[in-house]
């Protein structure tokens, strides 16, 4: 920690993720949907492993509740002014 290319970037991220996971839980979005892992650009296998594991976690959780909220025929409109 602290030896981040972006100076204190990883310190900030660490704290925000900690906070965000809890906030998401509170509004009903499983905290496991947010994950943080430190992987350097030289650690390809670790990256692959982490992503695979994350995908598995997400699959086990099923579709995001937010996805269900979206109406199927609603295009990702830039504006939907009512």
């Amino acid at each position: 920690m602290g030896d981040c290319h972006y100076l204190y970037g990883n310190v900030a991220t660490e704290k925000r993720i900690k906070f965000m996971k809890q906030l998401l839980e509170f509004v009903g979005i499983e905290g496991e949907r947010l994950r943080r892992k430190w992987v350097s650009s030289a650690e390809a296998p670790e990256f692959v492993e982490e992503i695979t594991d994350f995908v598995n976690t997400l699959k086990a959780l099923g579709p995001s509740p937010l996805k269900r909220e979206q109406k199927p025929d609603q295009p990702s409109a830039k504006v939907a002014v009512a």
Partner: protein, 263 residues
């Protein structure tokens, strides 16, 4: 209580200690924020009990910030309740105000208001009168936390979907002082949409208030569609306390989430 407040403000104005007093004024059948500069005007000073205790509260500290920016050399007085005092403490930490420019005149809140707010400390340290109420528990938060994750999702999405993007919650917040606001960033929350994208709009604001919200509940009162924002922000405060052992306005020092200078 109001007599004591008036007495104190009179003293401050007459002694020339403050240039003016940011308080509440009752005129023409309305209560509104007002900058008192003359002793003669103090007849109209009120503490903001319109029909019920504390139902005419305003973000006086926010007005104080504007005054401070315009007159950085002058000293002003301000009417504070427990939450407002927490706000002042935190605004000093964030360098939005300095203690040498501010004289707080505090009033304690009655139990009825403390209970309605679920306020942990319904009185300022610096007060014209002794506390008259004890700290209360945040019932709404306890109730919400008792629900399952799915139920919480349904309930929050239901209330967020009422949002009309009036920005009232932000505009009234005494702790919102940034010059540029993330809520207006097209990349985060597409502009021109009504309702705004949910829950992103509300979560972006919540994240930015972490370590800053002093639990005054004004956002909740301002919201025209009755979104229980205070419950959300109580949780924000709760997370910051449990995870980082920090309570804005109570604890000394900078917020642990203020990463800019907190390497």
């Amino acid at each position: 209580m109001i007599e004591k407040v008036i007495e104190r403000v009179k003293e401050l104005l007459e002694g020339g200690e403050i240039k003016g007093f940011v308080g509440l004024c009752n005129k023409n059948g309305h209560t509104a924020p007002y900058l008192f500069t003359e002793v003669a005007e103090l007849d109209h000073l009120v503490v903001g009990d319109f029909q019920n205790p504390g139902d005419a509260r305003y973000p006086l500290n926010k007005l104080l910030i504007d005054l401070y920016r315009a007159y950085p050399e002058e000293k002003f007085g301000v009417l504070v309740r427990g939450c407002d005092e927490r706000g002042l403490n935190d605004l000093y930490v964030w360098n939005q105000l300095t203690p040498k420019n501010v004289v707080a005149v505090g009033i304690p809140c009655p139990q009825e208001l403390a209970d309605a707010c679920g306020c942990p400390k319904p009185y300022p340290d610096n007060s014209v009168a002794e506390p008259i109420a004890e700290g209360a528990e945040a019932q709404d938060l306890i109730r919400m936390e008792a629900l399952g994750v799915k139920e919480r999702f349904t309930q929050w999405m239901e209330v967020f979907s009422k949002c009309i993007k009036c920005y009232g919650c932000r505009d009234i917040c005494p702790m919102c002082f940034c010059k540029e606001c993330s809520l207006e960033l097209d990349e985060l929350i597409p502009r021109g949409e009504m309702p705004p994208e949910i829950p992103i709009f509300h979560l972006v604001r919540a994240v930015h208030m972490a370590g800053r919200c002093i639990d005054c509940g004004l956002c909740n009162e301002a919201c025209p569609v009755d979104i229980p924002l205070r419950t959300l922000y109580k949780k924000v405060g709760d997370i910051v306390y449990r995870k980082f052992n920090y309570r804005p306005g109570f604890d000394k020092g900078k917020s642990p989430l203020n990463v800019l200078e907190n390497k």
